[in-house]
């Protein structure tokens, strides 16, 4: 299981990256993250919504109410221009952290 602090720090880049593939809703976002991480990234489901609302308040994403195929009401979120820029920044920073870590690990085995 991944540590709580890392899960929290990765929430925004993950949400932005998922929404970059198209609009989605809270439940689908959580299921997608679980599936892609083989259940290792575990969010307390309800805690996703304050984060989504905060990102919306900051102008990174926008929302609209719609209906699913089954007729259930859903709140769909999609990326805004500022969100795309924030996502690019996150990718750059996380790539840097990853490359530094990978480089250090490689050195240990040399």
């Amino acid at each position: 299981m991944i540590r709580k602090e890392l899960v929290a720090a990765s929430a925004e880049p993950l949400i932005l990256s998922l929404l970059a593939r198209g609009e989605s809703y809270g439940y689908a976002i959580i299921q997608e993250v679980k599936a892609r991480s083989d259940g290792k990234l575990q969010w307390t489901d309800g805690m996703l919504y304050p984060v989504l609302h905060r990102m919306e308040h900051r102008g990174l994403i926008k929302s609209r109410w719609g209906e699913s195929e089954t007729g259930r009401k859903r709140k769909y979120y999609s990326l805004k221009k500022d969100g795309k820029m924030a996502m690019a920044k996150h990718h750059e920073q996380w790539s840097l952290v990853h490359s530094v870590l990978a480089g250090l690990r490689k050195k240990q085995y040399v």
Binding site: K4, V7, A8, A9, A11, E12, G26, Y27, Q42, W43, T44, D45, G46, M47, L48, Y49, P50, V51, H53, R54, M55, H57, R58, R72, K73, R74, K75
Partner: protein, 217 residues
């Protein structure tokens, strides 16, 4: 006998009692709960166990409320921010108006005009980038209070300038023809200070939201 609709209604009551607001976000959370119950039932659990697993997964009402509370912007905070923005707009309009005269009156030399332009540029830069020098204040009430103080000091400063400083500028010049430029440039710089102070609430909010860390787990 377990009744799912009654259990969901009771869960809603618990959320409302804890302070989760309706319709948003409670409705969104309930939709999520129902999606999760359906998924659990499809995987073989009965209604009761699916409901219990879904409510556990969605989290405790009090923890959710405290996380949502971080997003709430009070009416006071919004009022202070809008007052600051309105005062900043007034400052900007007055500055542009003064600048127009600075460039149309023939008695004003190029030094006066440059000083006026620098004042306008400083106002713009303070609004665009001024937040970078402000500290990150996590406590919303302290931010609101500081923003309010910024507005008050800004208004008091303009009052002091018009009442005390401006009359001395009218009297002081030895040559009558230097007076318009001196007056207008001073007025522009006075508005620069006022606008910068008025941007405090907006800047503090911006710097706090940029440094904000998401909390999910």
């Amino acid at each position: 006998m377990f009744n799912l609709e009654q259990a969901v209604a009771e869960w809603r009551q618990q959320m409302l009692a804890a302070g989760i607001q309706t319709p948003v976000p409670l409705e969104e959370l309930e939709i999520h709960l129902r999606d999760e119950i359906e998924r659990q039932m499809r995987s073989g659990l009965d209604e009761k166990k699916a409901f219990e697993a879904a409510t556990r997964q969605i989290g405790q009402a009090r923890a959710l409320r405290s996380e949502f509370e971080k997003n709430d912007v009070s009416i006071g905070a919004r009022f202070v921010e809008l007052t600051g923005i309105a005062w900043g707009v007034i400052a900007g309009l007055f500055s542009l108006w003064t600048l127009f005269f600075l460039f149309t009156i023939h008695e004003v030399n190029w030094v006066g005009r440059m000083l006026g332009l620098v004042a306008i540029a400083s106002t713009g830069l303070s609004w665009r980038y001024g937040y970078r020098v402000l500290p990150v204040i996590r406590h919303r009430h302290v931010r609101t209070l500081m923003g309010f103080a910024g507005c008050i000091v800004s208004i008091l400063w303009m009052g002091t300038f018009v009442k005390l400083i401006l009359p001395s500028l009218v009297v002081l010049p030895t040559k009558a023809d230097t007076s318009p430029a001196r007056l207008m440039v001073s007025f522009l710089w006075a508005w620069t200070v006022a606008a910068t102070l008025a941007s405090t609430a907006h800047g503090l909010k911006k710097v706090a939201s940029r440094k904000d860390q998401p909390a999910v787990s």
